[in-house]
């Protein structure tokens, strides 16, 4: 069985920057509070009718150019998002439309903050087993249209930003290189510690005026931050150790750790627990906030552009988030 590797990468964030001070104009919060709790200084918000697939298409074209491939050479599209352009069908369908391609399989992965790594696990297996040669994997989110930008929603709303990242996976001839393994987990016991309830197919009916405009703000995300933090700092290192063990490696072997950009404090706690020095951890949440399924490809692209990854390096990708879901992947560059 052959290995899969990343042939190309791209990312896009919308031009509009929203600083912590901008948020202070619409809700009772402070720059200091946001930075201290999350590390975030600013994030990007999309405008007009820009959806996840629109930004995803820009990132995808970059990734294809980087891989020196044309859109016609893609065999499959996997789109990870929790903020799809429309309710139905999948954003992968709208991405196909934007790229002007039809006929190849395209579907969404809905695994929240772990969405990119769940998608990577599927794409890896498609390439590894020889089903497809070139898989386009996109992670893209437009969170800004789903946030309660008032004091009521501040705990969640200050964290999230919009953005898109894309990678193209293809075959790797060297069995020691490429994606070494992927590890996926979930624990639905904590589904409602970080969630967006409505529309909810378990309600009768699924959507009401009260859900949209009522005092319970049920069409906005909610989070029990301390709960999420506590589980993140346990599960994150646990799944990374699982990935390392599966490959006979140790934390010392990691050249660069790219965590899902959920919260700078979580990333720092995880790095400390693994004994990773600051220079072997990549963070850019300061400028983008949490872009959920897009955060890992955006961070990986910036790390590559900054020359932080060299041939032969071991790159560790990890994620934890809503579900709870958590995941890790190891890539030998």
């Amino acid at each position: 069985m052959r290995n899969a590797k990343l042939l190309g990468i791209g990312h896009h964030v919308p031009p509009r920057i929203v600083t912590n001070r901008d948020l202070m104009a619409v809700m009772d919060t402070t720059d200091e509070w946001i930075q201290q709790r999350t590390g975030i200084c600013e994030r990007h918000y999309s405008e007009g009718w820009t959806g996840a697939a629109d930004m995803g298409a820009i990132a995808a074209r970059q990734a294809l150019a980087h891989a020196q491939l044309t859109v016609e050479q893609i065999d499959c599209v996997i789109f990870a998002t929790l903020s799809p352009d429309v309710d139905m069908p999948a954003s992968a369908c709208l991405l196909q439309d934007r790229l002007g391609i039809g006929g190849i399989p395209a579907f969404d992965v809905r695994n929240q903050c772990s969405g990119f790594l769940y998608g990577l696990a599927v794409a890896d297996k498609f390439v590894k087993t020889g089903l497809y040669d070139h898989v386009l994997l996109v992670g893209a989110e437009v969170h800004s249209t789903g946030l309660d930008l008032t004091t009521r929603g501040r705990e969640v709303s200050v964290i999230f930003g919009d953005g898109a990242g894309a990678v193209v996976l293809g075959p790797e001839a060297d069995s020691q290189r490429g994606i070494l393994s992927t590890h996926l987990h979930a624990d639905g016991q904590f589904a409602e510690k970080l969630w967006l309830e409505c529309p909810s197919s378990r309600e009768r009916p699924r959507l009401t005026e009260d859900m949209i405009a009522g005092p319970d703000a049920r069409t906005f995300p909610k989070m029990e931050g301390r709960y999420v933090f506590r589980h993140a700092v346990t599960r994150f290192p646990e799944v990374i150790r699982e990935a390392l063990d599966a490959n006979g490696l140790t934390p010392e072997d990691i050249s660069l750790f790219i965590p899902h950009q959920a919260n700078l404090r979580i990333s720092q706690a995880v790095a400390m627990s693994l004994g990773l020095p600051e220079e072997r951890v990549f963070n850019n949440i300061q400028r983008y906030g949490n872009t959920t399924a897009a955060s890992i490809p955006i961070a990986l692209h910036e790390a590559l552009d900054e020359g932080r990854v060299r041939s032969g390096d071991l790159v560790c990708l990890g994620a934890f988030g809503a579900g709870f879901t958590w995941a890790a992947a190891l890539i030998r560059w």
């Binding site: 999309s46 799809p84 139905m88 992968a92 249209t145 639905g188 009916p205």
Partner: protein, 311 residues
């Protein structure tokens, strides 16, 4: 290494009359994850496996319990599974076939031994049963189907599959709202009052596309499986409109005794249609060990696919 279906299960809520038709409808305030639990238990029982044996969950739905997290997470907890991965996928009516292809690759790559694949939908809570929407609402039902996949034994195997999507047609069969692309807020009271959160369907386009795409993708799956049409003991064709599945059967010369059209009995169950119908056929003794079944579906996206399975 090959993949085989080791167990099937399904669950349909009570049939009630709504909007002039009788459909399985989940009246209790539950989502697809809860409907899927008896289906999942049935699949495990048929496979002779305990819940602990499940290594991975794939949940195909377009009507999740909540916006996020995915129905797979809710299902995992209700089943009492280990903290295994729970992948949520969206490929609309073809979701189950897409899920089969994904499960197959994880098993072939020897990453997981037992994958529990679910297709489940609660459509009824999101449909417009007033005069404005009844034409669409009357076509749907609620239900859940489960399949436990593992490594192939003897002749039992997923022998071939083909999956496709053409997103250029996404507006022919869609539900636009909530729409995260709408700024500054993805769903408003005005959108609600304008009924933009209900599905809209161009029936002519959906019919034409299904009648063309289904025979083609069935042919592809048969080719991939190295199977001749006469070796197929049973066809299960999932489509919103039963008459489209019938036309496809006619076009392919499938005798009605070998054709199972789930939407004709239950209304359209989308991602649940194929696993429910296959599980029913197993329960009714119509198919069983050694028989070869072709499963096919086509719908919103447009997304379509087919698979050939020897049980």
């Amino acid at each position: 290494m090959s993949t085989a279906l080791h167990g099937l299960g399904h669950y349909l809520p009570t049939v009630i009359e709504r909007g002039g038709v009788r459909r399985p409808i989940a009246v209790e305030p539950i989502g697809p994850s809860t409907l899927a639990v008896p289906a999942g238990r049935g699949a495990l029982a048929q496979a002779g496996l305990a819940t602990e044996a499940v290594d991975f969950i794939i949940f195909a739905t377009m009507t999740p319990d909540v916006v996020f997290p995915g129905a797979g997470c809710y299902f995992q907890h209700q089943m009492g599974c280990r903290t295994v991965g729970a992948l949520d996928i969206r490929a609309q009516c073809a979701g189950f076939v897409f899920g089969l292809v994904i499960a197959d690759r994880f098993i072939r790559a020897a990453v997981y031994e037992h994958v529990l694949l679910i297709g489940a939908e609660v459509h009824s809570s999101g449909l417009d049963y007033s005069a404005d929407g009844i034409r669409i609402a009357a076509l749907y039902g609620d239900g859940a189907g489960a399949t436990l996949l593992g490594t192939g034994k003897g002749t039992a195997a997923l022998r071939g599959a083909a999956i496709h999507t053409d997103g250029r047609h996404h507006q022919q069969f869609w539900c636009e709202y909530p729409a995260s692309r709408q700024h500054p807020i993805r769903v408003t009271v005005d959108d609600f009052r304008a009924r933009r959160h209900f599905p809209a369907i161009n029936f002519d386009a959906v019919r034409r596309f299904g009648e063309a795409a289904l025979p083609q993708v069935i042919g592809e799956a048969l080719h991939a499986a190295g199977t001749a049409p006469e070796q197929i003991d049973r066809y299960i064709i999932g489509h919103l409109m039963p008459e489209v599945a019938e036309a496809v059967g006619g076009h392919l010369g499938i005798p009605s005794s070998r054709l199972n059209i789930p939407s004709a009995r239950h209304g359209h169950l989308t991602a649940a249609a194929l696993p429910v119908a296959l599980s029913e056929d197993v329960s009714n003794g119509i198919v069983g060990p050694g028989t070869t079944v072709c499963l096919a579906a086509c719908g919103a996206g447009f997304a379509w696919g087919a698979a050939v399975v020897t049980l």
